[in-house]
Amino acid sequence: MTDLIPLTALGATDLRSERLGALTIAEDDSYGLASLTLRKGQNAPTPFGLILPAAGFAAQSGRTSAIWTGPDQWLVLGNGQGQTDFAAQVLAQTPNTSVTEQTDGFVCFEIRSDAGGPPIAALMSKLVNLPPETYATGRATRTGLDHMTVFLYRREEGHLSVLGLRSYAGSLWHALATAAERLAQAA
């Protein structure tokens, strides 16, 4: 185990979390991430027992989830695997596929609502151009947010994961927190 001390995407030793009205936005670095792409002629594997989702969806099984990111391509998320070589684990589960380590490619912000779906939907309407039906639980998509590219994953009615490029973490936090703060102010 290395003795190097990691830093969060927001450049601190502690994860940032802020409560704004009904919403709490929290940085989460516990996920191991790996992109998984099938090679020609391969059938979709079931890494960690996960049935890989179709376009526009995510899937979850135990502590592993996956977001569809392109034809025959997924981003696999392993909860609690942020400090491990998660890509190697995914590859072991999906031999001969193309797996790329992405754990630190993205920052993950978890947005939780203590008033169910509406505050999440209100926040989304300030940030992304997505029709409400794609906000439903289990939906995930890549979209533009404040000129950045992000993945959105509606884990539950009141729980949305936003994954953005790690280097943009500060700007992404600003965009999310500003929108949440304004909603809290207007409420």
């Binding site: 290395t2 190097l4 990691p6 830093l7 090679r39 391509q73 754990t103 300030k126 790690r166 700007s171």
Partner: protein
């Protein structure tokens, strides 16, 4: 005071406001215009060109005259229409476009000079002397013209943005819009109902006809309450849908807090992008006036506006309560205003009806077959001249309502260039049949403005729209209303030899249109450009149709033959701030930070923007007073000991698959397939046209696994290029790729002591030259088991490596390297030193790969392999490119302390400097502490054969000229021994 009884104002909430510094009282529910009228204020501004006294003309967003400046200082908001400004306590408004008090504007002299300012005057006068235009005439005209003035201070308000989606967007919340929204809402469709007003109801609020035996406002309130209770309906008052864009997208601005005292915290306005599957255009209609002589005095208004002020706001349009009001009309609609005035106890002088057989609907005088032919009253209407049966009579009047018919508000239906269609029966242009897809005009906007008809039309439009979406909307009970007569006879203007205004905002008169006709500016577009008719903030909403009717009369063409100008967004003015989306200053655009940013900041680094990235530019130390001192030190440290530089920003693309090698062979100009596992190769990518696209390294981690690096600037472009090549050119190749730039923190460790330093962090890995030679790469672990990648590559020309670890450890790694390398003299260096090192070494960067250069120019022509095909290879051999004789060379100024600016052009010494004798240009330039002189790189004609020649580098922009010796581009270690050591 001319406040009447009734109205939809809250008399329990009085509000104070000021106009031109004077305090007045109004009520909640008032607009600034209705409150001013209730206080007997008619004069509110001065006209654009002639500085004529002007008053409130309308009761809506079409207002041409009553433009005021709200607030002051940085918050001052010019050209705000008083007619749509919701009153709040403490509101401050001032009038515009006058010198001295509003009542005694010194620029009113312009009115006396009117003949000088006829249509197109600025195309005809002030032409000479030519030089006077820019310095004298234009500033003078600009000072005299124009309405409000900008504060020129940064806007302190907060703006927001958002996105909405719905099945049905209903634009306008009047009779048709409310019914459309309710019909669709009850059917379960997701509905957005937007209205620019702060209260829904549209003209229903302005009329007195009972709906099912109750006041219209009561029906509106009940309907809105039901709509508000439906979870699938979103009500958006104070929201102007200003533009129809492609694919069912609409732009809308919600005025979130403009109706409240200004605040630093509250969002002022929100820009919404609404995506609607279908839309109902229920934008109502705008009344038109009838131009007659001197028709622009304060107190002369649209008759429908007077009705709105009387019914909705309980404000009489006169200065004094007992001043009589006259109505001038060509149809029954004007009579409605007279009846409502009488109902409110306002004295009515009579209705001047152009129709000889004018009807009579009540106890008021009717002047049948009559016209208004003149007015008096300098600052407000005092008398009108009525001409009937050849007799002209002057009668005292405090206000005059003009009713010339209604123009459907087709604006949004024509944003896709569909031309409105003339309806002779209705004397109006209706929305085009080839308007935006999925848009259903309804109610007055579709020419169906009679209240009962509008209700039914709104329901029909919603039902049709929903049917297209596969939904069924049942009929809803519609209120019963006795429709009032609305016959009219065409009558467009009262002929006169004096001025009769058509466009109040731009001071365009019937005479101006006649002049435009005489000067052959007859198509409506020319008419607009020549006279300025229909320009500025109101875009001629009350003027355009009347103007083209006048033009039609002059040309003898019909109105539809004359046509309309094109409607374009925005429907009404939109602040640029809200279009900007609200982010200003540091967050104007998102930016990227490197994994070592916090560390570099703690070291006191200066940062520079590199695309969206913030990179450490240099790391000043105590005692260094100039950046050059710092950069020279950093460069020398790298050449002598070791330096660290965060190079995470370079693009990294993971390329895998059985055909990865073949794929990269086609992407790169040079051969990649032969690269051995565990080795790195420098690669050139060409564009299809054979020019250089990007350069970088390609590392082979396994038979079927490569990591491609790109320049920082082209990281996205190269990835896109690769995806395009795979998806469109060679989908048969079994290759997978994904960007992995952010996943790894990559740090360059450069300098003679770099191996020694790295040996201290790797976990039992042999770094010797034999085991890990120049251009080797490996996956390994460092610092006690952390996975890492090591590449032995060099940009500086020294023994050098790049080490990559998961990004979260980048900070700790650079700290560790600094600690462990302290005794070796390790130094962090920034992008400036990075640039100096590579210029000294003659390595290309963005300045050399500027899109106009080739591999051959770079001296790397042989890298474009002839043994295989690759993107751009064939085109790089075309005549024009293959014969380009310019080569990259180094330049040493003979005067070592003078810097040749990048961009300077190169010439043979002593030759005249012309385009024809131009021999190339300087790409990069810096001070080289290694050489002890300024140095430069540049492309020079036949450069490889001119080493030693002294040439001229010229910078004619600044009158500079330098004498420089042509040398090899590689000023450091040209044999490359250091790299391989």
């Amino acid at each position: 005071m001319t406040r009447l009884n009734g109205g939809l104002i809250d008399r329990t909430t009085p509000l104070s406001f000021s106009f031109n510094g004077k305090s007045y009282q109004g009520f909640k529910g008032d607009t600034l215009a209705s409150a001013l009228l209730a206080n007997g204020v008619q004069l509110v501004g001065r006209s654009f060109k002639y500085h004529r006294p002007r008053g409130i003309f309308t009761s809506g967003s079409e207002e041409p005259n009553a433009l005021v400046t709200l607030h002051n200082g940085a918050r001052s908001e010019p050209n705000t229409r008083a007619t749509v400004t919701e009153l709040f306590d403490g509101l401050q408004a001032t009038s515009q476009n006058h010198i001295g008090p509003l009542e005694r504007d010194l620029l009113a002299i312009n009115d006396r000079l009117a003949p000088l300012f006829a249509a197109g005057f600025y195309y005809k006068t002030f032409m000479w002397p030519r030089a006077f235009w820019e310095k004298l005439y234009e500033p003078l005209i600009r000072k005299a013209a124009g309405l409000g003035a900008l504060s020129t201070l940064p806007d302190p308000a907060t703006y927001d943005k958002g996105f909405l989606h719905c099945d049905l967007l209903v634009i306008g919340g009047g009779a048709a819009g409310l019914v459309a929204a309710l019909t669709a809402g009850r059917a379960g469709a997701s509905v957005i109902l937007a209205d620019e007003d702060f209260r829904f109801g549209g003209r229903l609020l302005a009329e007195s006809d009972l709906l099912d035996d109750s006041w219209p406002s009561e029906w509106v309130d009940r309907t809105c309450a039901e709509l508000a209770s439906l979870p699938n309906v979103r009500l958006m008052p104070r929201t102007t849908v200003f533009g129809t864009y492609d694919h069912g997208i609409f732009g809308a601005v919600e005025r979130v807090s403009d109706h409240l005292p200004p605040s630093d915290e509250a969002v002022r306005q929100t820009l919404w992008r609404i995506t609607a599957k279908r839309s109902v255009l229920a934008t109502g209609a705008i009344e038109r006036h009838i131009p007659f002589q001197d028709n622009d005095r304060p107190g002369i208004m649209l008759a429908g506006a007077i009705r709105a002020y009387v019914n909705r706001w309980a404000s009489a349009p006169t200065r004094n309560a007992d001043d009589p009001v006259a109505i001038f009309t060509n149809g029954d609609d004007g009579h409605r205003t007279a009846l409502d005035l009488l109902g409110k106890g306002v004295p009515v002088l009579g209705v001047i009806d152009t129709r000889p057989d004018a009807p009579v609907f009540g106890r008021y005088k009717v002047f049948a077959g009559a016209t208004v032919t003149g007015t008096k009253g300098r600052l407000g209407l005092q008398a009108i001249q009525i001409r009937q049966n050849g007799q002209a009579t002057w009668l005292e009047a405090g206000a005059l309502g003009v009713a010339g018919g209604w123009n459907p508000n087709v604006h949004l239906a024509s944003h896709h260039r569909g031309r409105p269609v003339w309806d002779e029966g209705r004397l109006a242009f209706l929305p085009p049949s080839d308007g935006p897809k999925g848009m259903f005009p309804a109610g007055a906007a579709a020419g169906n403005g009679a209240t009962g008809v509008a209700f039914a039309d709104g329901m029909r439009a919603a039902q049709q729209a929903l049917t297209e979406l596969g939904m069924t909307a049942r009929n809803i009970p519609l209120p019963h209303v006795t429709d009032t007569p609305n016959a009219q006879a065409p009558y467009w203007h009262v002929p006169t030899t004096k001025r009769a205004w058509v466009d109040f905002q731009n001071d365009v008169t019937v005479k101006d249109i006649a002049l435009a006709h005489k000067e052959n500016m007859r198509p409506v577009e020319h008419l607009k450009r020549w006279t300025t008719l229909g320009m500025a903030t109101d875009q001629g909403k009350t003027a355009n149709i009347s103007a083209l009717a006048v033009m039609a009369e002059l040309t003898g063409a019909t109105i539809p033959e004359t046509g309309t100008t094109i409607f374009r967004p925005p429907y009404t003015g939109v602040t640029l701030s809200v279009l900007g989306g609200g982010d200003t200053g540091r967050h104007f655009r998102p930016y990227r930070l490197t994994p070592t940013h916090a560390w570099a900041k703690a070291q006191g680094a200066t940062f520079t923007e590199v695309g969206p990235w913030m990179r450490a530019q240099y790391f000043p130390r105590d005692g260094e007073s100039h950046w050059r001192q710092t950069v020279d030190r950093e460069v020398q440290s790298v050449r002598k000991d070791a330096g660290l530089c965060d190079v995470t920003t370079l693009g990294k693309i993971d390329v895998q698959g059985p055909d990865a090698a073949e794929f990269l062979n086609r992407i790169y100009a040079n051969t990649m397939a032969t690269l051995k596992v565990g080795m790195v190769r420098y690669g050139l990518m060409l564009r299809e046209d054979g020019h250089l696209f990007d350069d970088g390294t390609c590392a082979r981690l396994a038979e079927d696994h490569f990591v491609v690096t790109t320049t920082t600037a082209n990281a996205g472009a190269v990835y896109r290029h690769l995806e395009f090549a795979h998806q469109c050119l060679w989908p048969d190749l079994d290759v997978q790729m994904i960007s992995t730039t952010d996943a790894w923190a990559q740090i360059a460790v450069a300098g003679p002591k770099s191996r020694q330093l790295l040996q201290r962090i790797v976990d039992s890995f042999d770094l010797s030259n034999e085991a890990f030679p120049f251009m080797a790469c490996a996956a390994l672990s460092v610092c006690g088991g952390l996975r890492a990648r090591l590449f032995r590559i060099s940009f500086s020309g020294e023994l050098a490596y790049e080490i990559a670890v998961p990004a979260r450890y980048g900070h700790a790694l650079i700290e560790r390297l600094m600690t462990l390398g302290a005794d070796l003299g390790v130094t962090p260096y920034g992008t400036e030193a990075l640039a100096v090192l590579r210029i000294e070494k003659g390595h290309a960067a963005g300045a050399e790969l500027n899109g106009q250069t080739t591999a051959q120019m770079l001296g790397l022509g042989k890298m474009v392999s002839a043994k295989k095909d690759s993107i751009g290879a064939v085109m790089s051999r075309r005549e024009g490119l293959a014969q380009d004789g310019r080569h990259l060379v180094g330049l040493l100024p003979l005067e070592p302390q003078s810097q040749i600016p990048a961009g300077s052009h190169l010439f043979t010494r002593g030759v005249a400097q012309t385009m024809q004798t131009d021999q190339g240009w300087v790409t990069s330039s810096c001070y080289s502490p290694h050489v002890g002189s300024y140095i430069a790189l540049g492309y020079l004609e036949n450069g490889h054969d001119r080493l030693g020649e002294v040439i001229t580098a010229a910078n004619p922009l600044e009158g500079q000229s330098f004498v420089a010796k042509v040398v090899s581009a590689h000023l450091v270690d040209p044999e490359g021994g250091r790299l391989r050591d």
